[in-house]
């Protein structure tokens, strides 16, 4: 076990290296609301927020509910001269389902539906015991690592902006109306943005460690506060 402020340059205990510039920092337990930035390159190192875990769990559940709506309700409707067409989110992905474009269907579905859902589930799995101050579930470490690795590939917000551009392009050609799925998707973007704002990877790694995972005897135990 490690006391706060003590470090060992030969084993690296009690030290944190900036992921962007490799500068070493002495590790310290942060109060909720404090922000740690790298001394050299100013990269955000950690920013614990009070009640963040509970909020991320709540926001993840909200995003799952919204995603169900976004997938099953009609997304957009178009009509011109008596001809009409309606599409759902699946319809959009299936646009590529002809011949050689088939793999793109899978990729698009994954990026706009699969990965956001998977990330929400992984975050709930990792944080549920931590928010209740219990031991993390088995495999919480690879679960959270996977969730972080998938972050750049989850592109729901890009898809919504893409919808806006597509609408402007067809705007002159036909009348378009939004279905409930479109609004569900817009809500999803806001929920995901809020969830990302509360997520501080370094803080979650610390919490997983403090809660009894990967005990190498190096976790810092905060002094009891008066």
């Amino acid at each position: 076990m490690q006391t706060e402020g003590e470090y060992d340059l030969s084993t690296g205990a009690g030290l944190t290296a900036c992921p962007r510039c490799d500068a070493l920092h002495v590790e310290r337990e942060l109060e909720p609301g404090e922000t740690a930035r790298c001394l050299r390159c100013n990269t955000l190192l950690a920013s614990p927020r009070a009640g963040a875990f509970t909020r991320i769990i709540a926001l993840s559940f909200a995003s799952l509910v919204l995603m169900v709506g976004a997938v099953f309700f009609p997304f957009l409707e178009i009509s011109r001269m008596g001809f009409g067409n309606q599409t759902s989110l699946f319809g959009v992905a299936l646009a590529f389902s002809h011949g050689a474009l088939m793999p793109l269907t899978v990729a698009v579905l994954g990026m706009i539906v699969g990965l956001p859902v998977l990330r929400a589930l992984l975050l709930v799995y990792t944080l549920l015991p931590l928010a209740r101050k219990r031991r993390p579930f088995a495999h919480a470490v690879p679960a959270f690592r996977l969730s972080e690795a998938l972050r750049p590939w989850s592109m729901a917000e890009i898809f919504v902006i893409g919808t806006a551009i597509a609408l402007v392009k067809v705007g002159g050609l036909a009348n378009i109306s939004f279905g409930p799925a479109f609004w569900a998707f817009c809500g999803l973007i806001l929920v995901n943005a809020a969830s990302n704002a509360f997520t501080s990877a370094a803080t979650i790694w610390d919490a997983i460690e403090d809660a009894g995972m990967a005990t190498d005897g190096r976790e810092i135990v905060p002094e009891p506060r008066a």
Binding site: T16, L24, N85, A100, L101, V170
Partner: protein, 219 residues
């Protein structure tokens, strides 16, 4: 975090004979290969990662060529009576300008031509100058450039989504219909490979070889 003195020099993990985990930040002795906290691989900040950067970048560039040569969208209006048109990325931009939609034309041109080409140039430049001695000011600029490339990379996928939405939506039988072209796939692959290239680049290389002067020297 807590500092011994405000003007003491910064020590890097590499100089201290340690290796920092890029995923969770923990520092380990140089001999370790896996972070025992988060389980990700520990990689020393050396030029080895540049091989992967160049390989992904080349793949991304190769797929960017057919993305521009083949049609992105195939449009047919009034059962082909008003003509079938196949538009490439640049062709689509020219068409939009022809109809007077200069704003949209600018957005599409920026997202599907300027951003991808800019990314190729930026990553190639970062990889070329990586590990060479730089001033602290230059290092800050390079890191900012890297962060821009990393942030903007995913947004190029917007073009693929626009094609998907248009082809799913505009299926009005005789009146008008839009189908995706083969360029959509190669554009998506190009974007994905460029993202992988940016992810393989180790930003710690930017700071290698910098003199470890005062921690305040970036101000």
């Amino acid at each position: 975090m807590s500092a011994p003195a405000q003007d003491a020099p910064v020590l890097t993990a590499h100089r201290a004979g340690l290796v920092g985990c890029r995923s969770c930040g923990r520092a380990w002795p140089e001999a370790e290969t896996t972070c025992r906290r988060c389980g990700s691989a520990l990689v020393p900040p050396d030029r080895r990662c540049l091989n992967a950067v160049w390989a992904w970048l080349a793949a991304g560039f190769i797929f960017y060529i057919p993305a521009n040569l083949f049609p992105m969208l195939k449009t047919s209006t009034f059962g082909g009576l008003r003509g079938n048109s196949e538009s490439t990325i640049l062709g689509g931009v020219v068409e939009l300008m022809h109809y007077g939609n200069y704003g949209i034309a600018a957005v599409i041109f920026a997202a599907s031509v300027m951003v991808p080409v800019g990314k190729f140039v930026a990553i190639a430049w970062l990889a070329l100058v990586a590990g060479r001695p730089a001033t602290v000011r230059a290092a800050h600029k390079r890191l900012a450039l890297y962060e821009v490339v990393e942030f903007i990379g995913r947004w190029s996928m917007i073009d693929v989504f626009v094609v998907a939405i248009l082809s799913a939506l505009v299926q009005l039988g005789f009146v008008a219909s839009i189908h995706p072209g083969p360029a959509a796939v190669s554009f998506a692959l190009s974007v994905a490979f460029t993202m992988l290239s940016a992810q393989s680049f180790d930003p710690r290389l930017i700071w290698r070889g910098l003199p470890l002067r005062s921690r305040k020297d970036h101000e």
